[in-house]
């Protein structure tokens, strides 16, 4: 027979089968398009007859007959009928999987069941039954010992029983050991030339077959029927029994359609049944994957031609330009579409779940509702295929052991029906699949006990573990053994198999469980072909892509801070980031050091830079050294660390290409990518670097606290754009008003732009005139931001407003990339620069003298303590003072400030009035009581205005009273007071 015809038939029929299956499931719920099911089975029957596949054809035929009766309303679909048909579908699927051996499949049971439904007693077609009867005659359990009752119980509940047939040369004890990790060996016997093993497991046949590396026909399912055969009295010969059955069966007519034994049931009732909508099948064309891959590489080439053409085009010729632009648009779109062809909705795998759960629930006597969310989420084809088996197993686990029986649930006060939710979604550049049940959950006490018993952890280790960590133990290899099936309700058996197969695809598995409430299993998968957001950074004149997922923030150190803020702990360079020690890795040196870091390498690097800095400062003498240092705060699975890079280039969406296997030994990259200009860049792997440099192991847990703190101290920030590239932000509390303006309304006076708002002339500030940023996108309509606390009205011109977000105010003053910025923060996956509104204002109004104050005695720095509860103001004011040569410490409230004052030697106190714990007035009262600080210069810095408030401040003991955030007056006041008090000359 022509193989290609057969192949086409198989592929086509599988499509039909899924239509039938879906239809039958719908029928189960009471609405289905019987016609389409019938058409599909009819097609299978027709073609199989034509191709000479008798077993297949006769099974399809009898299924068709039953469906025909449903269609013609000779009888109504019953759950039993649907069941039998579904079994038929299963058998057909098996046959199509191995079409050349389809005649060997035993269809007897199903055909009998179907015949029964058609009102016939037994299979009429002996030709069909013969093969099956033969198989049944052979007692596969021969010689194996087992407890009949126990086995029946196992088989009818959650487990699968198999007879595994191994070649004779395998050692029995080895086999025993190997198998016990997968399930339980009940009996083992040597017969003829093989070893037969009776084996029970919660894993299904396919997984067992994979794990034992046996051929499919060496893994034989054991069901009740086989047990019947095995326990049948020896004298009752099998063959006669079969013959007797055959004799009992009345001869059935050949024309199945003419056998409507079951009379139509009340016609009226049938009419009431809603027809339901037809199962929609999207129109598709079959394309081979090779062809798609080829198409994709061609698209890549087309892009290159497009790029060259774009450059070559004569810009003067408008016609040519237009054509090139069109080419550009079409090419980009085409590439996108072709990329998508490899992606398939995760629904392809998920839709199989309801059927599986239905069968399981029936078998287990439970009620389980399945909720599928995110069927449309797309995943690369290969990943999707790899996902099917683990998912099946996890669902099975949830149904078997997670969700309790109806009685148990009701006893616990839950609804009798359990719910299994499967949710797929995109999250942080990954695909997340959540399998959640509202069942019994996992008891960490039992799991922990088992783990200790197995010697996987010690009692001490266990005591130190959280419940969540204990739960993860069930995924450890070796946790699943035969005993756990009964003792720990089977949870965990095979979970290590599931985990390892997910990890092979680059995914992860996490288990969360609340005892009594349910279990949640989270699969995270990468998108191999996915496009990820990344920050392109530079080091040693090379460019690298740093995935945004791994990037927490950027820190930039300036001038002296480059030396002073970096400490050396046992040779490891450390940066103190908001009270957290951040180990530093210099990318430039890392690239030159292919050996894993040891103490020697680390200290060599550290001392090299120390020396470099010393020389730099020696050479500069009294002159100010201008330098900067970029630190990317990178989070890896092992913790976080600071990666020192030479420069930040831009953000870019990159397509991840795997590393060439030739470079398997190089662990610090996770792949490579082509950047916008056509050059290649390596993608940094933070985990790899962390391992290579031996950093980040200790502080994996540490950041959590600061995150909490950051949430507490959050501010609203307004995100806006000015140039085409960057995102900027200002703290919303600093903005008085936002106004939409028309570009045409801007008036030019001299070289300055003004606009009239509420009858007031407002000076407009364009960021690119005062900061080193890209040019604006000028639009018809723009916005201006009017800040609070300004001497003269001015507005910052922005091209578009993006968002208002809550961000942590943790922008350290020394992270400012340059003058005029407070620092940067990653907001919504984009690097956002926070603008120091007041510095921008100063540079915009140069007529205001800059040197308001100068600390005339730089070698004896004035030490200022600043008490303020708002972190944002703390940062801004500290920045101003530091800039002006003061040394400054901050305290979040009065009580803390008092403590610090007592402990340290401060020359100057600056305090807010309204603070938690202890306000400014109380603070100054306490301070004045101390002998040492009776005359310390103290300035109240507050937004409380009015004479009464002022007077209160002076009465309490403040020397000066200032309104917040006016840099120059503030500095002038401090300088003046310091002079008055004799701190400066």
């Amino acid at each position: 027979m022509d193989d290609s015809i057969l192949q086409d038939f198989v592929i086509e029929s599988k499509d039909h089968l899924s239509v039938i299956e879906e239809g039958l499931m719908a029928m189960d719920e009471g609405d289905a398009d019987v016609h389409s099911i019938f058409r599909s089975i009819h097609s299978i029957k027709g073609a199989s007859g034509f191709l000479g596949l008798p077993t297949l054809s006769s099974l399809a035929h009898i299924m068709e007959t039953l469906l025909q009766e449903y269609r013609d309303e000779i009888q109504m679909p019953t759950p039993d009928g649907v069941d039998a048909l579904l079994k038929g579908v299963d058998l057909l699927t098996t046959m199509f999987d191995d079409i050349s051996n389809s005649d060997d499949v035993d269809t007897k049971d199903v055909i009998e069941a179907l015949n029964l439904l058609l009102g016939k007693e037994s299979a009429p077609d002996t030709g069909v039954g013969a093969g099956g009867a033969e198989a049944a005659k052979c007692n596969i359990l021969e010689g194996l010992t087992f407890d009949e009752e126990e086995l029946r119980k196992l088989v009818s509940t959650t487990d699968f029983a198999f007879v595994l047939v191994f070649p004779k040369d395998r050692k029995q004890d080895e086999l025993n050991e190997e198998l016990s990790s997968l399930g339980r060996v009940l009996s083992m016997v040597e017969r003829d030339d093989v070893i037969a093993v009776l084996f029970v497991s919660v894993l299904d046949g396919d997984m067992i077959q994979g794990a034992t590396e046996l051929d499919a026909n060496c893994v034989i399912d054991v069901g009740n029927e086989e047990i019947d055969l095995a326990v049948a009295p020896a004298e009752a010969e099998v063959a006669p029994v079969a013959e007797a059955e055959a004799a009992l069966a009345p001869k059935a007519e050949a024309k199945p359609a003419a056998a409507p034994v079951a009379k139509p049931v009340k016609a009226a009732e049938k009419k009431d049944k809603p027809k339901g909508e037809a199962v929609k099948v999207e129109e598709t064309v079959r394309i081979s994957v090779t062809l798609l891959d080829h198409l994709m590489s061609l698209a890549g080439e087309l892009v290159l031609v497009r790029n060259q053409q774009t450059m070559a085009v004569d810009r003067e010729d408008s016609n040519q330009t237009r054509l090139v632009q069109q080419l550009d648009v079409v090419t980009t779109e085409m590439q996108d579409v072709i990329m998508k062809t490899r992606m398939q909705p995760v629904g392809h795998v998920l839709t199989k779940v309801p059927r599986m759960v239905r069968d399981l629930a029936k078998k287990l006597g439970k009620q389980i509702e399945v909720i599928l969310v995110g069927k449309d989420v797309e995943l690369d084809k290969t990943l999707l295929e790899g996902l099917a088996d683990p998912l099946t197993h996890m669902v099975r686990n949830s149904c078997d052991h997670g969700i309790e029986t109806i009685e148990k649930r009701e006893a616990k006060g839950k609804s009798g029906q359990g719910t299994l939710t499967i949710r797929a979604c995109h999250e942080g550049g990954q695909i997340l699949i959540e399998i959640k049940d509202d069942g019994a959950g996992i008891d960490p006490a039992i799991i922990g006990g088992k783990a200790v018993e197995k010697g996987m952890v010690t009692q001490d280790q266990l005591a130190a573990m959280t419940d969540k960590e204990i739960t993860q133990l069930i995924m450890m290899p070796g946790f699943s053994t035969a005993e756990t099936i009964s003792d720990v309700s089977g949870r965990g058996v095979g979970m290590d198999v599931v985990r390892s197969s997910l990890e092979k695809m680059g995914g992860t598995l996490e288990i969360n469980s609340i005892l009594g409430e349910g279990t949640q299993m989270m699969i995270r998968l990468p998108l191999t072909l996915a496009i990820i957001q990344s920050l392109v950074v530079e080091a040693s004149d090379r460019r690298f892509a740093l995935p945004q997922v791994n990037l927490e923030e950027m820190v930039c150190l300036y001038d002296r801070d480059v030396v002073e803020k970096i400490d050396n702990v046992n040779g490891q360079e450390i940066y103190r980031l908001r009270d957290q020690l951040l180990p530093l890795v210099r990318l430039r040196d890392l690239l030159e050091t292919s050996d894993p870091y040891d103490e020697n390498i680390r200290s060599t690097i550290a001392s090299k830079y120390r020396r470099e800095q010393d020389e730099l400062y020696e050479k500069a003498g009294d002159e100010k050294v201008l330098q900067s240092l970029y630190i990317a705060v990178v989070r890896s699975g092992l913790g976080r660390f600071g990666l020192i890079i030479d420069a930040v280039s831009n953000t870019e969406e990159i397509v991840v290409k795997p590393m060439h296997p030739y470079l398997d030994s190089v662990k610090i990259y996770s792949g490579a990518t082509v950047l916008g200009d056509g050059s290649c860049a390596l993608i940094i792997d933070p985990d790899g670097i962390s391992r290579h440099c031996g950093v980040g192991l200790a502080n994996a847990q540490a950041p959590k606290e600061s995150e909490k703190a950051a949430v507490e101290e959050s501010h609203s920030a307004l995100i806006f754009r000015w140039g085409a590239e960057e995102y900027y932000a200002v703290f919303l509390p600093m903005i008085r008003h936002i106004e939409r303006i028309k570009l045409a309304d801007i008036q030019k006076v001299g070289d300055k732009d003004y606009i009239t708002i509420e009858g007031q002339s407002v000076l407009l500030i364009c960021l690119d005139q005062h900061l080193n940023v890209s040019k604006a996108e000028m639009k018809e309509e723009m916005y201006i931001l009017l800040p609070k606390y300004t001497r003269a009205p001015f507005g910052i011109l922005v091209s578009s407003l993006e968002d208002i977000v809550q961000v942590s105010a943790e922008i350290h003053a020394d992270t400012a990339p340059e003058d005029g910025f407070l620092g940067s923060l990653i907001v919504n996956d984009k690097m956002t620069l926070f603008i120091d509104v007041y510095r921008v204002l100063e540079s915009a109004m140069p007529h205001v003298p800059h040197e308001v104050s100068t600390n005339s005695a730089p070698d004896s720095k004035i030490k200022v303590l600043y008490a303020e509860d708002s972190l944002m103001f703390r940062q801004i004011v500290s920045g101003y003072l530091k800039e002006d040569g003061y040394e400054i410490d901050t305290a979040p409230d009065g009580a803390e400030a008092l403590k610090m004052l007592k402990a340290g030697d401060y020359d100057f106190l600056l305090s807010d009035l309204e603070m938690p714990e202890m306000g400014g007035l109380e603070l100054i009262a306490e301070v004045r009581k101390l002998e040492k600080f009776a005359h310390i210069p103290a300035v109240a810095l507050t937004s409380l205005q009015g004479d009464e408030a002022r007077q209160k401040g002076f009465d309490a003991g403040f020397d000066r009273y200032e309104n917040k955030i006016q840099r120059d007056p503030l500095l002038a006041t401090i300088a003046e007071l310091a002079k008055e008090k004799g701190l400066t000359a």
Binding site: S297, G300, E301, V303, L304, S540, R542, L590, L591, E592, S594, K657, P658, H660, P661, Y662, L663, D664, S665, V666, I668, Y669, A672, T673, V674, G678, S679, C680, A681, L682
Partner: protein, 154 residues
């Protein structure tokens, strides 16, 4: 049977590689180097959107290094050989046609002869030698080349 070889030079040594394994000869020489990679890895190069790994055959065969010049070429192998891969050579020669029988296979010799000593990279990826009228062509195995892991393998 006549086999066709794409021939090339490293210094004055003459090499050949089965022409059916070669997809194209490229002039693209702007490599992005890969720190930490074995020293023979010249870098990555983007050829029509595909990232190719380039190995400098000179370095692999422990020949003295040579500056890139106008004769330098990249042999890019077909995808059946493995993931995108190219080999940097000094210059390419003509297509050489030889009777398959005239290639003396190194493998056979090695199996009968001295196996114990550490195999040099040039050995691991050499299929045999072929005498030409006025030259000796060393036949390389592209498949082995792509899979050769530099120092790690030894």
């Amino acid at each position: 049977m006549i086999k066709k070889f794409c021939s090339f030079y490293l210094g004055d040594r003459f090499y050949g590689i089965d022409i059916l394994d070669v997809r194209e000869i490229s002039l693209q020489m702007d490599f992005n180097s890969v720190p930490h990679a074995p020293e023979e890895v010249k870098g990555l190069v983007n050829i029509r959107g595909e990232i190719h790994l380039v190995v400098d055959l000179r370095v692999l065969f422990h020949l003295p290094p040579l500056e890139l010049d106008s004769n330098s070429r990249l042999l890019i192998f077909k995808t059946k050989i493995g993931p995108p891969f190219g080999a940097l050579v000094d210059r390419v020669g003509d297509v050489v046609e030889v009777e398959e029988e005239t290639i003396e296979e190194r493998r056979k010799k090695e199996q009968s002869g001295e196996e114990g000593s550490r195999r040099k990279p040039s050995h691991a990826i050499t299929n045999g030698v072929c005498k030409l009228p006025n030259d000796l062509m060393i036949v390389l195995d592209a498949y082995q080349l792509v899979r050769y892991r530099g120092e790690e393998a030894s």
